[in-house]
Symmetry: C2
Subunit: 487 residues, 2 copies
């Protein structure tokens, strides 16, 4: 191609670029041709007027495009003689199709070992409430949106006066959380021991990051929640499984020296729903105190205890500051609120808040202020009370329906509350198969075996009731009945 010939195909891309200003489209088209070598170094560009005419563009459009090219060093102007493709461009040779949608280069997908360890996690990202009887779904329809909206409007008004500098989270919110935890959960805490997160998952992940080195060992409940299992795997830590029996987490003498960290759900094991007995609580705290170990207490929905008042948290019994208490509002209130927190022993507050600032950043102030206002106005506790009553009824309904239609297939695992029930399957049934078939019928129950890490899995199903009314429950149970009868 001769130096001064001006390629017409240059302008085809112009037509393709929608919703982009003309001068940028022209700029990109010219830039592409330069980088691709269609316009070689030293090539003279046409003057703006004739080019504008030939392209049916305003002259200013062309001028702006040239200014951009000049600004980015693609062209240079020589006084009196116009614009030329600059010599510096072709140094590295042509790199092809800059503007087109680029092909994925599957080849060099070099990721860290951490990333590789995580990939299997993907299938846990399920859209909320898409399936009936899905566990961990609150009664979304019951959420007091109007009251929430008022709290949000308030937050929008006051947030200009709020500059988060502590790195812990909104002071207003931490004060609300502290007084709530003291009264309802028997947690010993001051607002300056609270660190706000956007959910308890990353609160627990950060804790593991800061308390565990890769290869170190940690006590994990068997069975346990996906998120905790996933976080431990992400750290690359060595899981030591502790079986859950009728009294909960059973840390036997001979194992106690094998790890310095335990992740537990004392109020109600996830998913089995077993409560850690008082004896075991005291023994566990004694172990932590004597061995200088840490305990992470995941207290995800203990508000919903139907057979009596909520139990005191494990943290509330801890006299040695060994317990890191994790809570969340996603399950009690609404998943979209995305606020969780840690209650930290004094000595962990500074390292945890530094690490959070660097690795996860502060939580947006807006939802924090809204939630603080929502709690201060008393809407939170009244909503919890309403939901406890509602869920109690829904649980009883579910158990009646199961007793009525599925009793020959299912055996209830007793629990004093929560948002789901666990049923064991009779011999000869695969819970995986049941749940796959249920899903095909729009029922989102989970198979119990998935929550076990060892091969010693129980076969059962986890049925969420909190988010589903009578009509939905009946429809789902009928579907399950059909699955079992055809099994």
């Amino acid at each position: 191609m001769s130096k001064n010939e001006f390629p017409s195909e240059l302008f085809l891309p112009l037509l393709q670029e929608a919703n982009v200003p003309r001068y940028i489209a022209l700029f990109r088209a010219l830039r592409q041709s330069i980088i691709e070598g269609k316009l070689i170094a030293g090539a003279k560009l046409p003057a703006s007027r004739p080019l504008a005419q030939s392209l049916k563009l305003s002259r200013n459009t062309v001028k702006s495009a040239f200014e951009l090219l000049l600004a980015e060093g693609y062209i240079e102007t020589r006084r009196g003689s116009g614009s030329f493709v600059s010599d510096s461009v072709c140094v590295a040779g042509p790199t092809a199709n800059v503007i087109q949608n680029r092909p994925v280069t599957k080849s060099s997908a070099k990721l860290s070992n951490l990333a590789e360890r995580l990939n299997w996690q993907s299938h846990h990202k399920v859209p909320y409430a898409k399936y009936l009887l899905e566990p961990a779904i609150p009664a979304l329809a019951e959420f007091p949106w109007i009251k929430w909206q008022r709290a949000v409007n308030y937050a929008g008004r006051v947030m200009k006066h709020e500059m988060e500098s502590s790195g812990l989270g909104s002071l207003q919110l931490r004060v609300q959380i502290a007084s709530y935890l003291q009264v309802v959960r028997g947690v010993n805490c001051h607002e300056n021991n609270i660190l706000v997160f956007s959910g308890s998952q990353q609160a627990i992940y950060l804790s593991l990051q800061l308390l565990l080195d890769p290869g170190e060992s940690v006590f994990v409940e068997e069975p346990c929640y996906f998120g905790i299992d996933g976080a431990v795997n992400a750290i690359g830590a060595n899981k030591i499984l502790i079986d859950i029996d009728q009294q909960g987490f059973n840390l036997k003498e001979e194992k106690q020296h094998q790890a310095n960290l335990a992740v537990v759900t004392p109020s109600r094991n996830y998913p089995l729903g077993t409560t850690l007995s008082l004896q075991r609580r005291i023994a566990l705290l004694q172990w932590a105190k004597d061995s200088g170990s840490w305990i992470i207490e995941d207290d995800y929905d203990s508000e919903f205890r139907f057979d009596g008042p909520p139990l005191t948290s494990l943290q509330g019994l801890d006299s040695a500051q060994r317990v890191i208490y994790a809570g969340t509002f996603s399950r009690i209130l609404h998943p979209s609120i995305r606020i969780g927190y840690l209650v930290l022993p004094d000595q962990l507050v500074q390292p945890f808040s530094c690490a959070k600032a660097l690795m996860q950043g502060n939580v947006s102030i807006l939802p924090q202020l809204a939630l603080a206002q929502f709690m201060a106005a008393g809407h939170f506790s009244s909503h919890v009370r309403r939901m406890r009553k509602l869920y109690h009824g829904r649980r009883n309904l579910l158990q009646e329906l199961v007793a009525q239609y599925l009793c020959e297939y299912l055996t209830l695992v007793p629990s004093d509350g929560g948002m789901h029930c666990v049923y064991l399957l009779g011999a000869g049934y695969s819970d995986k198969v049941i749940c796959q078939r249920a899903r095909a019928l729009g029922v989102g129950i989970k198979n119990l075996s998935d929550y076990y890490s060892s091969d010693n899995k129980s076969q059962g199903i986890v049925i969420g009731f909190a988010g589903f009314n009578e009509q939905q429950q009946r429809r789902a149970i009928r579907a399950l009945e059909s699955i079992f009868s055809e099994y």
Copy 2:
């Protein structure tokens, strides 16, 4: 102490417990006495009526306290003969003062190596806008709060219909970000390549986590931003420092094989403000393409280019999907909004979104919807235009004031925009000392040497102008003048 004697000191705590219901205070007092062994196993508790009378509490208060004790297994009732301290409690022996504020056990503060690496980070947590001329502070007073409030109210209304399930962030927001980046930053992106974070810091940290293994090497600019340096240290990666010269990041032939990841600020090096030249951009992309390496482009405030239109992003020139583009709204809009994002190559979208869900969680939907609405209404781009004009003026003012009062001490490092200016110090001055003295006078300039990792540090000061009006600038410059003249 005899079995049936009832200790009176038991009830002292009652008086101390403010803002806690009486029955809980009583419950805690009794529980404490039981755990501390003041009430030994088998001890009979007084009946509720006489106890209520002696404590001047209602009988129901006492009953509720007993119910809690019963529920948690501290006492048991024997039909007809009343309540007794249960035998199971003392198993692990007494654990002291459960309720009092507990002493910090500095002893066994076992943290992970990651945590140890992070501790030094603490001193970077500076409260926003507390000091004059602090870098990276936008013009907070100029933020259009009323328009933002309207967007927030809208978000509060519509959020009930939004259930984030993609794991990427609000679709509405991603659409807004994508079209903005395409037009203004020349970024090649689709909304499904965008992953929303609560700031760019953790976006970059996550990228490093997923692209680097501990001990692996990464190219980092010398000097560079604290947050990037800190994140690399947190990963435990091996920093290879690449000097910034007049053309920016200078990756020499002989070094190119030493790492497969580069973290760069091509639009404007932080803090020097140097722009990466076109030649170097093309060479850098070529390196990434040939070696299958990744480039993280941190594009933190390129909107504020005063001497011409914003430059196209490096990502926009990338034909091989090797660039991870990171942006944030904290600096352009307001730090409290806490929203940043990554634009990811196709092959990284799935692993990154999985990892984020597990390790950082979704960003609260509320600020995302508010920002999306704010952008859709055009408030974002008009605010950016206004600030560009304002900051341009403030920069010129700063440079005039320095020329007028400090020219004998300071030499400007040229830059085409941004929110701060860098000045080099004459020989014989320590920038650390200057900045300490400045801070004492309420001036928050930063010392340039802090941004260097090697011993080959330049002595200079980083002066933020964006957030400070003429009066503030004059006051601060006078303070600096006094410091220099007395040096």
